[in-house]
């Protein structure tokens, strides 16, 4: 990836992070979209697995800092998701919107599973309900929003042909 592509990817990444802290609380949905996971996935497919793991770790710490009781849980989840997304990018990140949507859905759902298990705040039926109902819903919304943003930000996200 050349310098221009890196800058565009960085701008896209920052836009997603800002959206996570502006649009997400403004909407306040019960099954919210996760722009941090989208940012991580879009960055992870452009870097090596080690770098993706570091990015995931940092993003996880950022999200955990606003919920100190779960400090570390988000970092673990993001690290795994980032590493896995970068490792599997050849499989998933093709030029296919449906495949991309599934990629976002899977990334968000895996993140939620890891996060809620690592957080250890929710147990029993509530945990099952969270992981099998609200997390898939949130993952679906995230996937939809991710695809929409991919469509909107295509000029910014497309890899340089040069």
């Amino acid at each position: 990836m050349n310098v221009g592509g890196a800058i565009r990817a960085l701008i896209s990444f920052l836009i997603f992070v800002v959206l996570h802290y502006t649009l997400r609380p403004l909407l306040g949905w019960r099954a919210p979209m996760d722009f941090l996971v989208l940012a991580l996935l879009l960055a992870a497919v452009r870097v090596r697995p080690a770098t993706a793991a570091v990015i995931g770790f940092v993003l996880g710490l950022i999200s955990d800092s606003l919920a100190p009781d779960a400090l570390g849980a988000g970092a673990i989840a993001m690290t795994f998701v980032g590493f896995g997304a970068s490792y599997l990018k050849a499989v998933f990140f093709a030029d296919n919107l449906v495949l991309n949507a599934f990629f976002f859905f899977l990334g968000k759902w895996v993140f939620d599973i890891l996060y809620f298990i690592g957080e250890q705040r929710v147990h029993g039926f509530e945990l099952v309900q969270q992981l099998l109902l609200w997390s898939p819903l949130s993952a679906a919304v995230t996937a939809a929003v991710g695809v929409l943003l991919l469509f909107i930000m295509r000029p910014l996200l497309e890899p340089s042909t040069a």
Partner: protein, 382 residues
């Protein structure tokens, strides 16, 4: 090539393991250490993001509360719109209660029901009838004064003729009884039906604008002292032998909702003291006007004197005689006051009424020796 790939994979795994270990370490931190770490991150490089999130949360709260706020504002606006009418109604009812407490007895409270027909400005339906003691020609009054008279009575309601009716008449006078006349609706001109006129006032009686006119008690329908209106101005009519005055009515018929109907037995006792303060207020207003005129007159005199003094000073400064001074010596020198002699009084106590010019003064030089030709009186020695 394969070695490089294996090396990269090893590095990736090492980094992944490191990140996982660090994350687990963060997860394993005790609460006493977890909070400072999170707080430090929020207060340092995450501060802008935290600020963005706070603003977004506030925006969401505003959006969520917008409907409730709008509903509250609507309710508040509706309440404020009602408050004005409630306040005026409350004021009106307080006046009615005050009138009732002054009347003490012999009245029937009633609601005035306005219709929407053509003649509604001149008649009104009252919510009390003969069962309540209302009879025909019972006066209808409001706290402000005269409203009308009952002209038809049903058992449960009655029909009243307002003062705006063309057939309505009431004998009226000034509170001090100096001017009498007949008050009726002023039906001519653009203000017809909304003003009163006081006709037949004797030519010698003059009413100043602002004077209160009350019912005179003549005629047997209206008791004495009910406010009818206030003098606005004199109007010219073809009647040369009497004056006609335009009155502002004490009661606007459109504002009449709660009234008092006076019973016939109450009329015989009079309404002394019910509107007594009205005459006092009128007298006080007259005194204020008079004192205001005096003050204005004094101020005008003082101003004229000051102006004259300035002109005199200017004239002296120019070397000319002061304005208005012709002969200063004659004008200034006082004339000697005439000396009056005491009139001679005779021994009998009677004044000497003889005119002085008729008596000749004795100009003869008085000698010590009397003239020889004068005879001596007997007993007188020389």
């Amino acid at each position: 090539m394969a070695r490089a790939i294996r090396s990269n994979t090893r590095v990736d795994l090492i980094v992944l393991t490191t990140c996982i270990v660090l994350a687990l370490a963060a997860r394993a931190l005790p609460n006493t250490m977890r909070d400072p770490v999170a707080t430090g991150m929020r207060r340092s490089f995450l501060a802008p993001l935290v600020l963005l999130q706070e603003r977004a949360e506030k925006g969401r709260q505003s959006l969520l509360s917008a409907d409730a706020k709008q509903t509250y504002l609507d309710s508040l606006s509706l309440g404020s719109m009602k408050a004005g009418s409630l306040e005026s109604e409350n004021d009106r009812l307080r006046k009615i209660i005050g009138l009732g407490s002054r009347l003490r007895w012999g009245f029937i409270p009633a609601e005035a029901l306005h219709g929407r027909g053509v003649r509604d400005e001149t008649t009104v339906i009252l919510s009390a009838g003969s069962r309540a003691g209302v009879s025909r020609l019972s006066p209808v009054i409001a706290p402000e004064g005269l409203v009308g008279v009952v002209d038809a009575v049903d058992p449960t309601m009655s029909h009243a003729m307002l003062w705006t009716h063309p057939d309505f008449r009431v004998s009226a006078m000034s509170p001090d009884g100096s001017a009498f006349g007949i008050a009726q609706a002023h039906l001519t001109g653009a203000t017809g039906g909304y003003l009163l006129e006081l006709r037949g006032v004797p030519f010698r009686a003059t009413l100043k604008p602002g004077s209160v006119i009350v019912s005179s008690g003549w005629g047997g329908v209206w008791p004495r002292g009910i406010p009818v209106g206030t003098v606005l101005q004199e109007i010219k009519t073809s009647e040369g032998w009497a004056r006609t005055y335009l009155l502002r009515p004490a009661v606007n018929p459109a504002d009449v909702y709660s009234v008092m109907i006076l019973r016939r037995d109450r009329l015989a006792k009079g309404l002394d003291g019910v509107w007594q303060n009205l005459a006092q207020v009128d007298a006080a207003a007259q005194r204020i006007v008079v004192s205001g005129d005096s003050a204005a007159k004094n101020a005008a005199l003082a101003e004229a004197a000051a102006r004259k003094a300035v002109l005199d000073s200017m004239a002296r400064a120019n070397g000319a005689a002061p304005l208005g001074a012709t002969d200063s010596t004659r004008a200034v020198a006082p004339r000697p006051a005439p000396v009056r002699r005491a009139a001679p009084v005779d021994t009998n106590g009677r004044r000497d009424t003889t005119r002085r010019d008729t008596t000749r003064r004795d100009t003869t030089k008085r000698d010590t020796v009397p003239p020889p030709d004068l005879p001596l009186r007997p007993g007188v020695t020389r």
